[in-house]
């Protein structure tokens, strides 16, 4: 051991103490995980799209036009070539010309590069309410003529704009994931918390139930529960019912995490100290134990969202989840269920890409969060 010599000047100088809050520490560790940071931005983007759905979607998701059944994607072009060969900035989409497919004997649309339909950003529109309470009358994109086709991602069976439906579907699918996890978390914390804190027969009973639910195939169960919903319920009622059904099974994983945390913290010194001080159980739980594992719970909850989104998509895809007027990724994919439709309109699979991207992003984000929240990590 080396003996350090401290000069008088150094000893006299006030020691600088660098302080960082728990959150700052977590953020620092989180940033090292680059994939997680990218995923965080993706997740934020998706939720922004969900929040601003009415503004971003060019048309109403249920506005249909029989003239443009299964119109293919137009794409959005930013530059236009002039007669003299130069390029100028002019956002536009191309119109359609219809052709008769000699094989299938059916009218199909082809994008016609000759027809140029200018696109305006921040185009004025019919007045609407953003998120249900902010009155607005401008949309991100729009075309001049109300009868001009504007299908960046193509149209579906009824000539509805896929992009608009996708954006509105994002709102429903992401919010149901969030709502389902919030509800599961509530069940999980109450049930898992009781089980972990008090132990005993209640703990064993809860754990048996959790094991039982986790050993059952979930889709048949979800289907059975969803099929029992009355057919005459409104869209909103179905939405909440589906959320509850998803969390009836979703709480188990979170309850396990919460219980595990409670069990390992119950014997910690600071809990014993609080008990000796005469603090009530409620106070010990809410003031001492919960704050010490909040970050873990948040990470676990984040990792539970993809499962919820997938479950909703699967249920709606099978026709037993959300019903027609509600647009979600699942109900959108339901349109792409048979091979004839897929062959004519492969762009209807676009919601599937969204599902995959958000699930990957949430998983990486959750992983990063979990690593960052672990105080014993590197």
């Amino acid at each position: 051991m080396a003996v350090e010599t401290i000069s008088p000047a150094e000893a006299a100088a006030p020691r600088k103490i660098r302080r960082e809050s728990q959150l700052a520490l977590m953020w620092r560790r989180f940033r090292q995980h680059q994939l997680a940071v990218v995923s965080l931005w993706l997740v934020i983007t998706f939720y922004l799209i969900a929040a601003l759905a009415e503004f971003l979607a060019p048309t109403d998701p249920s506005a249909y036009s029989a003239r443009f059944t299964y119109a293919p994607p137009q794409g959005l072009h930013l530059f236009l070539q002039n007669e003299d060969g130069g390029w100028s900035f002019q956002p536009h989409v191309n119109g359609y010309k219809s052709e008769v497919d000699p094989q299938a004997m059916r009218r199909t649309f082809v994008v016609d590069p000759e027809v140029v339909i200018p696109v305006r950003f921040f185009a004025p529109s019919e007045p609407y309410q953003l998120a249900g309470f902010i009155p607005m009358s401008v949309k991100l994109m729009g075309v001049e003529g109300p009868r001009d086709p504007f299908y960046i991602l193509g149209a579906d069976r009824l000539g509805r704009d896929l992009l608009s439906r996708l954006i509105h579907g994002t709102r429903i699918s992401l919010s149901i994931g969030l709502a389902g996890v919030t509800l599961s978390l509530l069940f999980g914390i109450i049930i898992g918390g009781f089980a972990g804190f008090y132990g005993g027969w209640f703990d064993s009973a809860v754990m048996r139930i959790v094991e039982f639910i986790r050993s059952m195939p979930t889709i048949p169960l979800w289907l059975g529960l969803a099929a029992a919903l009355p057919k005459d319920w409104t869209a909103l009622q179905t939405y909440f019912a589906i959320t509850i059904i998803l969390s009836l099974i979703g709480w188990t994983e979170l309850a396990r995490v919460v219980r595990g945390r409670f069990l390992s913290l119950r014997t910690e010194d600071f809990v014993t100290a609080a008990q000796l001080d005469g603090a009530s159980d409620w106070r010990i739980i809410t003031r001492h134990m919960v704050p010490s594992f909040t970050s873990h719970i948040i990470a676990a909850a984040t990792l539970a969202i993809p499962g919820m989104i997938l479950a909703e998509t699967a249920l709606s895809f099978l026709g037993l989840g959300l019903q027609a007027p509600i647009v979600s990724w699942g109900t959108l994919l339901q349109e792409a269920q048979n091979i004839r439709t897929l062959a004519t309109a492969p762009w209807l699979l676009a919601p599937g890409i969204c599902v995959v991207v958000i699930i990957l992003a949430l998983n990486f984000f959750g992983d990063g969060l979990r690593d960052a929240a672990d105080p014993h990590g590197r």
């Binding site: 195939p217 099929a227 895809f317 994919l333 269920q337 091979i339 995959v356 990957l360």
Partner: protein, 330 residues
């Protein structure tokens, strides 16, 4: 070992009982009872309903009586006579409808488990032994995609691609001429030429998971001194790896079958609907949408039973290969 088996069997019987209660609760969920629906459909078809038939049915199923009495009549019929009740949509006993379908389900799921292992084993070993190589990265990326793409989406994409590239639709398990034939070599060939798609789709998520676990386990084992010893004694490298660390790393893998099974059964339901396979899935979906509840209940229950038994088998297998579990559970 015997004690372990007995304990697990008792636990399984309790679980099976819980499965039956859940299935029956689902039967009871829709508003109105089965008999009213049945009579209503008969009436709407213009059939005259004989009051004595209704009375007999009412007696048999105990309609209007408390939940427990109805449950008892239902479960004693199943356990005693193998009678799952009537399907009012098909106008036939449930038992005549489900066994063939369930057989196909088991076949497809069994093949999927087999495929998972045969794909995951070599890739997992390779990824661990050649850590951070190009192959390892490819396996990791493939694994993530396998986990993130929902099964039914993969089935849809596969269906679309085969239509665009080969002009054929994949789907079903048998060509029309083999639909009702007995098993024979051409029929097996026909089956395999169609079954590969659903089996592959079902196996992806599980394979990704198995590769990840095997790689992690094996990486832990490869660092241990006994591997170095074996290598120092001059054993050929393949023997060093296959003979010792791989065998140890396999143990936790067997137990993962137990919890992969519920997911597998779940996704086989939805994949079967997409690919139009004659398994339990489409029948379940149909019975649920038409509220043919005895059929639906029987299917939900049997799918649950299947999972529970599969889990038991994987537990016993694990106890058989891993003495720590066998003796630790006293």
């Amino acid at each position: 070992m015997l004690r372990f088996i007995i304990n697990r069997l008792i636990a399984m019987v309790l679980t099976l009982w819980a499965v039956s209660v859940v299935a029956f609760a689902i039967i009871q969920l829709p508003p109105g009872d089965y008999l009213t629906t049945y009579v209503a459909t008969l009436n709407s078809n213009g059939d005259r309903v004989d009051p004595s038939t209704i009375e007999a049915l009412r007696q048999q199923y105990g309609f209007g009586e408390p939940f427990l009495v109805q449950y008892w009549k239902w479960i004693s019929g199943i356990v005693g006579r193998g009678d799952f009740g009537q399907s009012f949509e098909w106008k036939a006993p449930v038992t005549t409808l489900i066994w063939g379908r369930l057989g196909n389900s088991i076949l497809i799921e069994g093949l999927a488990v087999f495929a998972m292992w045969t794909i995951a084993l070599p890739i997992g070993i390779y990824a661990a032994v050649r850590k951070y190589s190009l192959g390892d990265y490819l396996a990791t990326i493939g694994g993530f995609i396998g986990l993130a793409v929902p099964n039914f989406l993969m089935a849809l994409v596969l269906m679309y691609l085969s239509f665009v590239w080969f002009g054929t639709t994949i789907g079903g398990l048998f060509s029309p001429e083999f639909e009702n034939a007995h098993w024979s070599l051409p029929r097996i060939w026909d089956f395999l030429s169609r079954a590969w798609a659903p089996v592959l789709v079902l196996a992806t998520a599980g394979t990704a998971e198995l590769i990840r676990i095997l790689r992690a386990n094996l990486l832990d084992e490869l660092k241990k001194p006994y591997v170095t010893t074996a290598r120092a004694k001059g054993l050929p490298e393949w023997k060093v790896i296959l003979k010792y660390p791989v065998r140890v790393a396999l143990n936790p893998l067997v137990s993962t079958i137990g919890w992969l099974l519920p997911t597998l059964v779940s996704s086989s339901v939805i994949v079967s609907v997409v690919l139009n396979l004659p398994t339990a899935g489409p029948l379940l979906l149909r019975s649920l949408t038409s509220q043919d509840m005895y059929l639906a209940g029987a299917l939900i229950m049997l799918l649950g039973v299947l999972t529970v038994i599969g889990t038991l088998v994987s537990d016993l297998l694990l106890a058989w290969i891993d003495p720590r579990i066998r003796y630790g559970s006293k």
